[in-house]
């Protein structure tokens, strides 16, 4: 069967449609997700297909609905809680951090929590400080959670399908800029297991690590670098927890130079942790210090130029690559 070109949001919808047909305990709660089909049309048509019992609109009560989702998961159902913005998930952090993430350990392994929170983050055209955050580090920090950040329609579909077949709480972070992006998705069934990075572009001079909306941006930078004779490898971990360190380290061992690109603020970010893993494992293989291109340590301002200045742009990535190459040249000259 041929591949088709689908939008990211359609890949997500196909995953939900297929998995809900397979497993009757899967249900979705969210604000405006039933008749309206969700703000990004991911759940469009699911109400008609699966009924009001399994596709339910909720009041604006994130702590309550996340908690109810966690309870339903503990009791043996498979809830998907759609939270409009990851910023709003902060209202339900108690249930995610203290309940969902800890239940398996607290019960000595007998209790499982197949809970999925789907939400989206990132900057996107002036929606300002409370609707623009990239908060993956908060979830990454909590043992017991899986953190998934797909960058393509193919990955979004395959990862969401896998999320619905495993038994741990999953924070599924989409990006508001990606819903309308397109990519090839096969007709036939497939899943993508967690903890398997994808090499989005092969290269030999430098390893670029990026996830979510930083992947297309980093690929643009790689394209520009190619024109200048620099061969960049772009790795998308796809899931931050679990993290496929093997694929990352293999690439770095080959290129000896690394730039990590994250939209989230620099301080306490996932990029810093990946950098620490790389230096710990491959310190003597590195030809330059690991570079991190990250968001400024700031809430996102409304003004579009300031918003743009708050998060990494293509040129920032290109410049960072030049830095790691330049450092190498300097060392060689000494």
């Amino acid at each position: 069967m041929p591949d088709r070109e689908l939008m990211y949001r359609d890949g997500l919808r196909e995953a939900l449609e297929e998995e809900m047909a397979r497993d009757e305990t899967i249900f979705i709660l969210g604000e405006g997700i039933a008749e309206r089909g969700g703000s990004y049309k991911v759940t469009e048509g699911l109400l008609e297909k699966y009924g009001a019992g399994r596709v339910r609109d909720t009041p604006i009560a994130e702590a309550g609905m996340i908690g109810v989702g966690v309870g339903a998961a503990i009791a043996g159902a498979r809830p998907i809680i759609e939270i409009l913005y990851v910023d709003f998930a902060m209202l339900g952090m108690e249930m995610i951090v203290n309940q969902a993430a800890k239940f398996r350990l607290m019960t000595g392994g007998s209790g499982r929590v197949p809970f999925i929170m789907r939400t989206q983050g990132g900057t996107g055209g002036g929606v300002a400080a409370q609707h623009s955050q990239s908060l993956e580090a908060l979830f990454y920090h909590i043992p017991g959670l899986k953190v998934v950040m797909p960058s393509t329609p193919y990955d979004a579909k395959g990862l969401l399908k896998y999320a619905l077949r495993q038994d741990d709480p999953v924070i599924f972070l989409e990006h508001k800029h990606l819903y309308m992006t397109k990519g090839m998705v096969p007709e036939e069934e497939y899943i993508i297991e967690f903890g398997k990075a994808d090499i989005k572009r092969e290269g030999t001079d430098v390893t670029l690590i990026a996830w979510s909306n930083m992947v297309p941006r980093t690929l643009e930078a790689a394209e520009e670098l190619a024109k200048q004779g620099i061969s960049a490898e772009v790795i998308d971990p796809r899931t931050l927890s679990p993290l496929d360190t093997d694929t990352i380290l293999k690439s770095v061992a080959k290129t000896n130079r690394v730039v990590i690109v994250q939209e989230a603020v620099r301080r306490g970010g996932v990029a810093s942790d990946i950098a620490s893993i790389i230096q710990e494992e491959l310190f003597y293989e590195l030809d330059a210090p690991v570079q991190i291109v990250a968001g400024l340590n700031t809430p996102i301002p409304f003004n579009l130029e300031l918003e743009k200045a708050s998060v990494p742009q293509k040129d920032d990535v290109v410049e960072a690559v030049k830095t790691v190459l330049h450092d190498t040249n300097q060392l060689a000259a000494e």
Partner: protein, 328 residues
């Protein structure tokens, strides 16, 4: 002596025996558990349910197989009333591998999903959304199971109560919220915590049938829960029950409860739920004082055996722990 067992308030011997046995088992577990704590055998926190036994006992006696409960940090009584094995509970408190959570959870996290116990909880108020979630899962699975969340006056001023009870209401879930009003949030009195101290009114405000009951009267609690469960199974849920009670002790074993006035303690001691369960059993059945004593001795023996077994049981090794968390 002919007893008034055919009277208006008579209940079956089976039920009365179950209620007394459960209430007494909780009393022994807590009383003896505190001694183990003092001996250093139990570490961490221990929140005794002493004085509140009538609520868990009455509620769970009205539940059916397949029903669920969610509990609190003061959860030993709920677990026992839901039918938990005392041996595995003691083993958990002694951090042994044979415990309900293999020693990973302790007093505040005993759970047994296979028996419908969603678990005790270290976060006050968390049980309400979790219980509503279980009720939703059962609705989606299409069964008629009822879920009870045991909550408290302390949790009644937490926002998740409104959010999740409201969800239960708009979806007509088989959910019963039991607010155990023991009149203290740790040491802060109910009067300091809220202007409206009749907590059942919180349910009425959002269209949930709500009732208040004497929490120290296990039979009254049982009857009201039976009615609430029936309402749920007829599609008239959720239901809120406020059960008014009082602790025998402070918040936990290391809190002497100096802020609890003597006259109030005396008032509730005279209405002790275990004494009332015992009196009901003797008054309404043919069982003699001696028969009841035999039940008490059996329970005491069960606890002693549980401690002996737990003391000789092993603990999870650090190597096993590392294996357990490998995919974290």
């Amino acid at each position: 002596m002919v007893k008034a067992k055919k009277g208006k308030n008579a209940r079956s011997e089976e039920l009365l025996k179950k209620i007394f046995t459960t209430a007494y088992k909780i009393r022994v577990f807590e009383t003896e558990g505190i001694k183990l704590y003092r001996r250093g055998l139990i570490r961490g926190y221990f929140h005794p349910y002493l004085g509140q036994e009538g609520i868990a006992t009455g509620v769970c006696a009205a539940l059916k197989e397949g029903d669920f409960i969610a509990s609190t940090h003061r959860g030993h009584g709920h677990c026992i009333a839901k039918g938990a094995d005392v041996g595995r509970m003691v083993a958990e408190l002694l951090q042994k591998e044979t415990g309900y959570c293999r020693g990973f959870g302790g007093s505040m996290h005993i759970a047994d999903i296979s028996e419908g116990n969603l678990g005790a909880n270290g976060i006050v108020g968390a049980g309400t959304p979790l219980g509503v979630g279980a009720a939703l899962a059962n609705q989606i699975k299409g069964n008629d199971a009822v879920t009870v969340t045991f909550s408290s006056d302390g949790a009644a001023n937490n926002g998740t109560l409104l959010e999740s009870l409201n969800l239960a209401a708009i979806w007509n879930l088989n959910f019963i919220l039991v607010i155990e009003n023991n009149q203290y949030a740790v040491s802060t009195t109910i009067g300091e915590s809220t202007r409206e101290t009749d907590l059942y009114k919180r349910g009425e405000a959002i269209g949930v049938p709500s009732f208040q009951v004497d929490g120290n009267d296990p039979l009254a609690v049982h009857d009201l829960t039976e009615k609430a469960a029936e309402m749920c199974r007829k599609g008239e849920g959720p239901v809120l029950i406020e059960a008014v009670t009082y602790r025998h002790t402070g918040h936990h074993v290391n809190d002497p409860g100096a802020y609890m006035p003597e006259d109030k303690k005396k008032y509730y001691a005279e209405r002790d739920p275990v004494d009332r369960a015992r009196a009901a059993l003797i008054e309404m059945t043919d069982l003699s004082q001696k028969d009841v004593q035999a039940i008490e001795e059996d329970i005491a023996k069960e606890f002693e055996d549980a401690v002996a077994a737990a003391e000789s049981a092993g603990e999870v090794t650090v190597e096993e722990f590392h294996k357990f968390v490998a995919n974290y």
